[in-house]
């Protein structure tokens, strides 16, 4: 530090005894009116004495806001002068909203109109729904098929394409009604719908190879529309272990499902998804499934992606597209439990692990196909 600056510092320190003097020095410093030596000396003092530094900073802040005030004031004066040059009245005459009466009315009362429109809509829709109550109330159409007329049609077809028809090994006469069923045990217990075998004099079941076996009805449950058949035919040889399991817990909406059934003489695959957890008119014993089915599908198994049986196809809504109903698998088990255990042999059970799990759809069907039967009813 040069001797000169030291001298200046001492002179400033000397003046500092008087507060006014210090303020004047700071003021001059901020205005840039100090000599270079004096400025350097003051900066030195600021470093050494926080009190002085603080004074400088607050003074600077205040002067800055004073300066800003001045700037702003002159800006506002300039703008006022500019504003005077404008002819605001004629401008606003030119620019003001020019809308027709109708548009103005619309703008002002937009929300009122909206409320009125909404009310009107609501009224109309409620009137409509009173007249045509909108929930699914189409008639419940069970899916057994009346074979005779279809069969006749097919017979004609068979005559023209003779080689394609499978040889029927069972009784020669035509069945009256048809449905689908699937094996519950290896020794020939089958599950189908009650309505399929209702009024039956005799029941035959036919597997995918075309072999027919006589069967008798061993359990009927009209309430849940479930029936259990037992193959009594002597030609019947016990099946291999069942590839599928029953699945008890409820499936969620959107779960992909498929069914195998006999709407014609060969098995037909139908694929869809659970569209509701309740069936016709809110029936909790059923699922609503969006799956294309036809007469003859009744009693077919409804399987999930993993090959678990989750229900039995029963019926469809005839006024609603894609509303098929399937009884939940729990009621199959209830029906099975009604039959003496020792006669059942090895039966299908609820299980977590399933041999079909992980197989692709084609492989699953390959295995299941042998356990799904066409039910033929004579009366």
């Amino acid at each position: 530090m040069s001797a000169e600056i030291k001298k200046v510092i001492f002179s400033i320190l000397d003046k500092m005894k008087n507060d006014i003097e210090l303020d004047v020095i700071i003021d001059d410093y901020l205005q840039g009116r100090l000599s270079a030596a004096e400025a350097e000396a003051l900066e030195q003092l600021r470093i050494n004495d926080p009190l002085i530094d603080h004074k400088v900073v607050t003074q600077k802040a205040f002067l800055d806001s004073l300066k800003q005030y001045g700037d702003r004031l002159s800006l506002q004066q300039q703008m006022e002068r500019a504003h005077l040059q404008l002819d605001v009245a004629s401008l606003s005459e030119q620019l003001k909203p020019r809308t027709s009466y109708v548009v103005k009315l619309w703008r002002k009362n937009k929300s009122a109109f909206a409320v009125a429109a909404a009310f009107l809509l609501l009224t109309l829709s409620s009137i409509y729904s009173i007249q045509h109550s909108t929930f699914q109330n189409g008639t419940y159409e069970v899916m057994r098929r009346e074979i005779t007329n279809i069969k006749n049609n097919q017979n004609k077809l068979v005559r023209t394409i003779n080689s394609n028809s499978k040889e029927e090994l069972g009784p020669i006469k035509n069945a009256k009604f048809g449905g689908t069923g699937f094996a519950l045990t290896a020794n020939g217990y089958l599950c189908t719908n009650f309505h399929v075998i209702r009024d039956a004099d005799s029941v035959y079941v036919q597997n995918n190879k075309g072999e027919s076996f006589q069967a008798k009805v061993v359990y009927r449950d009209q309430q849940y529309d479930i029936a259990i058949l037992k193959i009594t035919d002597e030609a019947f040889t016990p099946l291999a272990n069942l590839p599928y399991k029953l699945k008890d817990n409820n499936l969620g909406m959107g779960e992909n499902v498929y069914t195998l059934g006999y709407p014609k003489d060969d098995a037909v695959l139908g694929e869809g998804y659970i569209s509701s957890k309740t069936g016709h008119a809110g029936d909790t014993t059923q699922y609503q499934v969006s799956i294309p089915i036809n007469p003859g599908n009744s009693g077919g198994p409804l399987l999930d992606n993993y090959g678990n049986i989750i229900g039995v196809i029963t019926a469809k809504e005839n006024q609603v597209d894609g509303a098929t109903f399937a009884i939940k698998s729990r009621y199959i088990m209830d029906a099975l439990n009604a039959i003496p255990q020792d006669s059942l042999g090895k039966k299908v059970v609820f299980a977590k692990k399933n041999p079909l799990q992980g197989l692709n759809r084609t492989k699953q069907i390959d295995k299941i196909e042998n356990y799904v039967y066409m039910i033929k009813v004579y009366n």
């Binding site: 205040f62 806001s65 800003q68 001045g70 800006l75 500019a82 504003h83 009245a89 003001k96 909203p97």
Partner: protein, 189 residues
């Protein structure tokens, strides 16, 4: 609705920014006259009158001015769009303060998201008013001395002559006392 054409005398954006940086009154003047009709139209069509338009417009110009002066102004959109967007935001805020319907503003220009801190601007507004009233309360001749020295950058010599002080030291002491009183008034209010 057809947006009315603005007059041709609107300066280019570059001219405005440079003009404001150089304290050109002409640039500001042309800017002011150039874009006022746009804002007038906007306010008139959204439940406001001429005075509202003037108020909002001047506020947006002050914001623009401060932004340019502070040096961190980047011309990311057209000035016209910037001013319009700022005015739109200010007006929306005022409308909501008056709890008027603000659901659908009738727009006449493009709107950009402007990173302008309206609250910060209002804070500055408050400071401005505080300083104004402090100066008013300061009374004469202090007010003029302070303004001449700190705002108009007159020298002590000029002030001496203007107010008839016998020497600059007297004027300095007077100015010092005035400043102290102004500080007191400013921080008290």
């Amino acid at each position: 609705m057809v947006s009315n054409k603005l007059s041709d005398s609107v300066p280019t954006d570059r001219e405005v920014v440079l003009g404001i940086l150089n304290n050109s009154e002409d640039a500001l003047n042309r800017l002011y006259i150039g874009y006022f009709p746009m804002i007038l139209q906007f306010i008139l069509n959204n439940n406001g009158d001429e005075d509202d338009a003037k108020d909002v417009y001047q506020e947006s110009i002050i914001i623009l001015y401060n932004k340019i002066k502070s040096g961190n102004f980047e011309l990311s959109s057209k000035l016209k769009t910037f001013i319009y967007s700022v005015c739109r935001r200010i007006w929306l805020k005022r409308l909501s303060q008056q709890s008027k319907k603000t659901s659908n503003l009738a727009d006449f220009e493009d709107v950009v998201a402007v990173d302008v801190d309206i609250e910060q601007h209002e804070e500055k507004d408050l400071q401005f008013e505080k300083m104004g009233s402090a100066l008013l309360n300061l009374g004469e001749p202090c007010k003029t001395i302070i303004q001449d020295f700190y705002i108009n950058n007159l020298s002590m010599q000029d002030i001496c002559e203007k107010f008839g002080y016998t020497n600059t030291d007297n004027a300095k002491t007077q100015k010092y006392k005035c400043l102290q009183r102004l500080k007191k008034l400013f921080f008290q209010s």
